[in-house]
């Protein structure tokens, strides 16, 4: 009998986790934000964070803010949920998607708009600190991307907006 699928949208700044094979986490449009997805295929359990900023130290953070907004706070929170659900480092696959960037042809903005690349860098560094390697990455460019994280198979299906989808 085919699995009844349950699509859950992961909004900017959110962290989601599931051990249910019916779950599909979906992000309809990643801009400069980066989706960090971790999957343990032995259970299965999958967790995803829709991260929009590299670190929290530049802004005033509040306790009731979205937990997945900043890479430096999202990573420990995501890994805690993953571990609590039984996910193990040795069985896990880690992938990141997104981190697009505005143009800077006229010199308008400069590095202040390099947030996409900085998100990806911060996530790599943050995961490395916890002993995780990013196995696959699809970041950069100037287009948004959508993604679906299918827990029954662990597949990540990526689609550039207006383009064709492919597995990562």
């Amino acid at each position: 009998m085919p699995v009844q699928q349950q699509i859950e949208t992961v909004e900017p700044g959110e962290i989601r986790i599931s051990s249910s094979p019916e779950t599909i986490f979906a992000i309809p449009n990643l801009g400069t934000g980066v989706a960090l997805a971790i999957y343990d295929n032995t259970l299965p359990v999958g967790a995803i964070a829709h991260i929009v900023l590299p670190e929290s130290t530049l802004t005033n953070t509040h306790a009731d803010e979205l937990p997945g907004k900043y890479a430096n706070l999202a990573i420990p929170a995501l890994l805690e949920k993953f571990t609590e659900a039984g996910g193990q480092k040795r069985n896990s696959v880690v992938r990141i998607v997104g981190g697009a960037q505005l143009f800077n042809f006229g010199g308008g903005g400069g590095n202040i708009l390099n947030i996409g690349a900085r998100n990806a860098t911060a996530i790599r560094a943050g995961m490395s600190k916890h002993g995780f390697v990013i196995q696959k990455a699809d970041t950069g460019g100037n287009k948004g991307k959508s993604l679906q994280f299918i827990l029954s198979t662990g597949q990540l299906i990526v689609c550039p907006i207006g383009g064709h989808e492919y597995p990562l």
Binding site: E11, P12, G13, P28, N29, L30, G31, T32, G33, V52, L53, L58, T59, N60, T61, E65, L66, K69, A100, Q101, L102, F103, N104, F105, G106, G107, G108, G109, N111, I112, L113, I115, N142, K143, G144, P160, I161, G162, G163
Partner: protein, 297 residues
């Protein structure tokens, strides 16, 4: 087949989007100088569907009232004309924009969500700088990309050429549209807005929201402020990622225009802004959900 001309495209646009009769009557009088809140309220009140839409909006998280508003009369008394007007524009925008736009890779709902997100962001930015009428940047942002709706029906065969040109010549997407087609979605949108008798401030915002520095020299500081706020809201919407099309982030920030209205778009400013705007997500979703018709729920 020859490329379509701007005149052909604009001629093909109906006088107004296909709106329900009451919304059409309201849109005809909404910006006339002698229209009062009571006149507007009377037209709304006579149409159950429009009344329902306005009341749902009133009671959504976007407006944050502590008690439920049950009648249009109450809504008028509490909200005032400016807010009632922007709500009517929101209803009109939903009818006009909640469609797929294949030419720009926008699926059903994308352009509507993108527009309403940008509108909410623009209002937030306006309040941040203590603008006297935050509903105006809201409405301008809501309608800024009506040109995509229209040009989207024609751009398909030329889209890849436009995209290739952005990278080859290192220019913004809207400039590349201009090179390939002879005009861009902003110019189309401005012409459509004129056809719909929208106020000049909305026409100018639609035309110049990707490059406010290019506003005509005779524009007032107030006009520059509105267009630049919408520009910044547009860029933030693309970065956070709500409903952007295949043109995505192929645009630059007009730093000069921002400086002219007193905004120094540095590292700390942009990141703190994104941090604030992301928290508006639940309000935007509530607004979008409140506007869903029975068949969409």
């Amino acid at each position: 087949m020859p490329k379509p001309t701007l005149e052909d495209i604009v001629k093909g646009v109906q006088k107004l989007p296909q709106l329900p009769a009451a919304a059409l009557r309201v849109s005809n009088i909404i910006d006339k100088p002698d229209t009062s809140a009571d006149m507007l309220a009377e037209i709304i009140r006579l149409d159950a569907s429009l009344t329902g839409q306005i009341l749902k909006l009133c009671n959504s998280a976007a407006y944050g009232f502590t008690r439920k508003i049950s009648t249009v009369k109450e809504a008028v008394a509490i909200l005032g004309y400016g807010t009632l007007k922007s709500m009517v524009y929101t209803v009109i925008a939903k009818f006009a924009l909640d469609k797929p736009v294949e030419g720009y890779g926008l699926k059903h709902g994308d352009l509507w969500i993108n527009s309403v997100t940008c509108a909410v962001y623009a209002k937030h930015l306006a309040k941040r700088i203590k603008h006297p009428n935050p509903e105006l940047p809201y409405t301008a942002a809501l309608l800024r990309d009506i040109g995509m709706l229209v040009l989207g029906e024609h751009v398909g065969p030329y889209y890849h050429e436009i995209e290739k040109l952005t990278l080859k010549e290192k220019i913004d997407f809207v400039q590349a549209e201009g090179h390939v087609l002879g005009f861009n979605h902003c110019i189309v949108g401005a012409r459509v807005a004129e056809k719909w008798n929208l106020p000049l401030v909305l026409v100018n915002t639609i035309k110049h929201h990707h490059a406010p520095s290019r506003l005509p020299g005779h524009s007032t500081p107030a006009e520059l402020q509105i267009v630049t706020l919408v520009h910044l809201a547009d860029m933030m919407t693309r970065m956070v990622g709500y409903g952007s099309g295949s043109d995505g982030l192929m645009y630059s920030l007009d730093v000069k225009a921002l400086q002219k209205i007193g905004i120094e778009a540095n590292h700390a400013y942009v990141e703190s802004l994104i941090a604030e705007l992301v928290e508006l997500g639940p309000i935007i979703r509530d607004l979008v959900d409140s506007m869903k018709s029975a068949g969409e729920e």
